[in-house]
């Protein structure tokens, strides 16, 4: 909610700066951003009482001397003769109507009313609606204005189950559905209670006689309505969070006062209904309990002073909760009030001793498997469970984000296959992935299984021993023999037939329930460790990469080291990776063959072959300066 600093500070005697008010708002729990001179405050849903100038000043009163004495009309008022029936008194236990006729709408607004619109950049509508909107901002209580000439029959408040069309006063057409609390006339809903009125009966610039309705609605009857019909409604935001159930009469008298300050009132009358009297809530005085909850030691006097400053009334060992604070029920609620006033950051820390639980060795087998797979070059991935395709055991999401995410996956393999293809498109030559996740299925009953799934394709590795070996079913079998020699798993080769890919590498996959692994795998000693630090992420290029291979013939083996170092130290921003993919020592000829693969990729552009050639030539020339090495097919250029 946007509240102007100037609208607050004019009522604060101490005249704090915007930064000082900001700091106090944070202390009170009113998270906000400052835009120019406007606080954009995100009030927590329990603090409906703060959604106004008056409400926020009540909270700030614990720090500042506040002068907020808005004039209200005190004179006796005639009783309004209104034909009204309430069929849902629980939802609307209090309601008041004010009928008011003016001579003419003012040409200019008083400064305070004008400022509300200009400071907060709010569009004006018509005089009565403008006053109603301002009043909601000032007092926190929404009111609804009907054009009295358009109310020509009995007004009924009731809960209506209907699929009728309804046009809001802003012109939006909605189709009602389910139960709605509404005001009806001639059996037609004319006001979606607490949310928005209809176009037919609303005020216009021509309106001279208005019926102002001011009510308390039970939050549960209003909650969800604005979301359901996709209507932005300041009023429903307030009713959902609960307004002051005792303020209706006073608010209407303030309405009269504002009108009086702008134009001549010809006639007015009022009618108030209170069907169910809401009792005030009382909590026993217990400052020891508060000290215990917070872990502080404040005196009984401070305790009483703090609560009094927030509007609580204390007498006979009982604390009366003010009618606007429907969020306060228990001693813990009071403790939060006291803690806010002291300031959470001013409460000192106290020693805490949590009794040690015995080591449970949580997920030991699963963690052992993870590190075993890491040792063998597998990367752990996490996929969301939502998929578009169902199987006979799929659980359906009732309200999916879209049709591609309307079921819960019944296996992990398909997610991993997508991940594999994604990395193949990024020209990865060796892809080994795994995921561990709970998988939910339904026949009649809900079924939960914790599963390990792995997928692999391409080269076994990029080092010179593994480079020429291709991943196949045998590779996975051999791998798992290392930790579970006696178990037979159902390794799968996934067909590429229906996949959008030209690659031919075998895709092998395995999906298995974690509880199929016995604790014997715990004897495996892993090499990999969880990282000790949290590496800074470097942005990734989404542009294509390419590679160049350079193969050397070496007769003087002492030069291997120099050559290797040259490659390790060769830096260029378009070189992404360099590795030795080939190494062969021929004992007969005593010659060494060594091959380096250089991967090129730019962050900025797709590389041209001449750009790559330039770097390649430079590496070749640099390397051939080393004595005793040659590149078959390339003349030493000396």
């Amino acid at each position: 909610m946007k509240i102007a600093y100037s609208h607050l500070v004019e009522h604060i005697q101490d005249k704090p700066t915007i930064e000082q008010v900001s700091e106090r708002l944070f202390q009170l729990g009113h998270e906000h951003e400052i835009e120019g001179n406007i606080f954009d405050i995100e009030f927590t849903p329990n603090r409906g009482d703060c959604l106004s100038i008056k409400g926020l000043l009540r909270d700030l009163a614990v720090f500042y001397k506040i002068e907020f004495n808005q004039k209200i009309y005190h004179e006796q008022l005639a009783e309004l003769n209104i034909d009204f029936e309430n069929h849902s008194k629980y939802i609307c236990p209090q309601i008041s109507f004010l009928k008011l006729k003016i001579d003419k709408a003012p040409e200019q607004y008083k400064e305070y009313l004008e400022n509300y619109f200009s400071d907060l950049c709010i569009n004006k509508n018509n005089f009565f609606t403008d006053v109603s909107n301002y009043l909601s901002y000032e007092t926190g209580q929404p009111t609804h204005c009907y054009d009295a000439n358009k109310i020509n029959n009995k007004l009924v408040f009731h809960e209506l189950d209907t699929d009728e069309e309804f046009q809001t006063l802003l012109g939006k057409k909605i189709k009602l559905s389910g139960k709605n609390a509404v005001f009806s006339m001639n059996k037609k809903p004319i006001n979606l209670a607490g949310v928005v009125g209809d176009m037919q009966t609303s005020c216009s610039t021509q309106t001279k006689t208005v019926i102002v309705e001011c009510a308390y609605f039970q939050p549960e009857a209003i909650v969800g309505q604005s979301v359901k019909y996709d209507i932005q409604s300041e009023a429903s935001h307030k009713f959902e969070r609960g307004v002051d159930h005792k303020c209706q009469n006073e608010v209407l008298r303030r309405f009269i006062q504002i009108i009086r300050e702008h134009t001549k009132i010809i006639d007015m009358s009022i009618k108030s209904y209170e069907y169910i009297e809401k009792s005030t809530h009382k909590i026993p005085v217990n400052h020891h309990k508060i000290n215990q909850i917070i872990g502080i030691d404040i005196s009984a006097k401070d305790y009483i002073d703090y609560l009094t400053s927030l509007g609580f009334i204390i007498s006979n060992d009982l604390i009366t909760v003010p009618s606007f604070r429907n969020d306060i029920q228990t001693q813990n609620d009071l403790a939060e009030e006291i803690a806010r006033i002291i300031g959470y950051n001013n409460i000192s820390r106290a020693k805490i001793n949590i009794p040690k639980s015995h080591d449970s060795n949580h997920n030991a087998i699963e963690n052992k498997l993870r590190f075993f797979l890491l040792d063998n070059g597998f990367y752990e991935v996490i996929n969301p469970p939502f998929v578009g395709q169902s199987s006979d055991q799929s659980i359906k999401v009732d309200n999916p984000l879209d049709s591609n995410r309307q079921f819960l996956r019944t296996n992990i393999s398909n997610s991993l296959l997508d991940n594999l293809l994604y990395n193949e498109r990024r020209q990865k030559e060796s892809i080994k992935l795994f995921e561990i996740s709970d998988i939910y299925t339904a026949n009649n009953d809900m079924n939960k299984k914790r599963k390990l799934s792995i997928i692999a394709s391409g080269r076994v590795g990029l080092n010179y021993e593994d480079f020429s070996k291709k991943i196949n079913k045998k590779y996975l079998e051999t791998l798992f023999k290392k930790i579970c020699p006696n178990q037979v798993f159902d390794y799968k080769i996934l067909s590429r037939e229906l996949l959008d890919t030209k690659l031919k590498n075998e895709i092998v996959s395995l999906e298995i329930d974690i509880d199929k692994f016995s604790s014997s795998i715990l004897s495996y000693k892993e090499i990999s460790k969880a990282p000790l630090k949290f590496n800074q992420f470097n942005p990734i290029s989404d542009l294509p990469s390419s590679f160049k291979d350079i193969s050397y013939l070496i007769t003087d083996d002492s030069k291997i080291q120099s050559l290797h170092e040259l490659f390790l130290n060769y830096k260029n921003e378009i070189i992404k990776n360099i590795y030795i993919f080939d190494y062969y020592y021929n004992q007969k000829t005593q010659e060494i063959k060594i091959g380096f693969r250089v991967i090129f990729q730019s962050m900025k552009k797709t590389l041209t072959s001449s750009e790559i050639e330039l770097i390649y030539t430079d590496i070749v020339n640099e390397s051939l300066k080393i004595e005793g090495i040659s590149i078959p097919g390339i003349q030493k250029d000396l």
Binding site: P45, Y344, G377, E380, I382, K448, F534, I540
Partner: protein
Amino acid sequence: MSEFNDISPPELIKERGSLHPINHMKDHIMNLLTSFGFEIIDGPEIETEEFNFDMLNIKKSHPARQMHDTFYVNNKTNLLRTHTSPVQIRGMLEKKPPLAFISGGKVYRKDDDATHLPMFHQVEGIYVDEHVSFSQLKELIYQIVHSLFGEDIKLRFRPSYFPFTEPSAEVDILSKEGKWLEILGCGLVNPIVLENCDIDCNKYSGLAFGLGIERIAMLKHGVTDIREFYKSNLDFLNQFK
């Protein structure tokens, strides 16, 4: 032996894989908390409204129930848990105080943009004993945040609102750029929740806290788009060894 027989081949680099940075962060936080004395418990991702909302004092009428944009399954008989808090309820129904549980895992909300995903991860903790106070909660949160971000990090506690804690707080840390960043929510367990779990709230009180793993991982690794975590891009994953 000729000297050629002694030539040593270049170092054979066996590529190791990496833990997913989110799982690594989750493990890291869970390990830290178990070292404080917490015991790890698990619960289902498909929950009931009773455990996900009602037992946690999130009433049907409450706007907080709207705040959680919930995925429902099985014709609304079940839902995908919107937080890990229902696991604490299950734990409290099984064990009597003193108790100290943590649980971590996937949670779901109907969101999808650069900072929110329909699936994300949380770690939550609860400690119930005699005379657990807000000032003890503060001490615990300081210990957690100091372990994660270093002893020099500046913290700020702000009053907040969760139906299952009272008083409630949100905790911010001060970034290098001088901005306050929200990193966790916490509070004293609402006595109503203790009563719901048949724990005598006159004798016992509790503290609870919850952290969003993605948020902390993003801060620690300098990742700015949450979606990076779930592309399964090897160029991303291999940076976290």
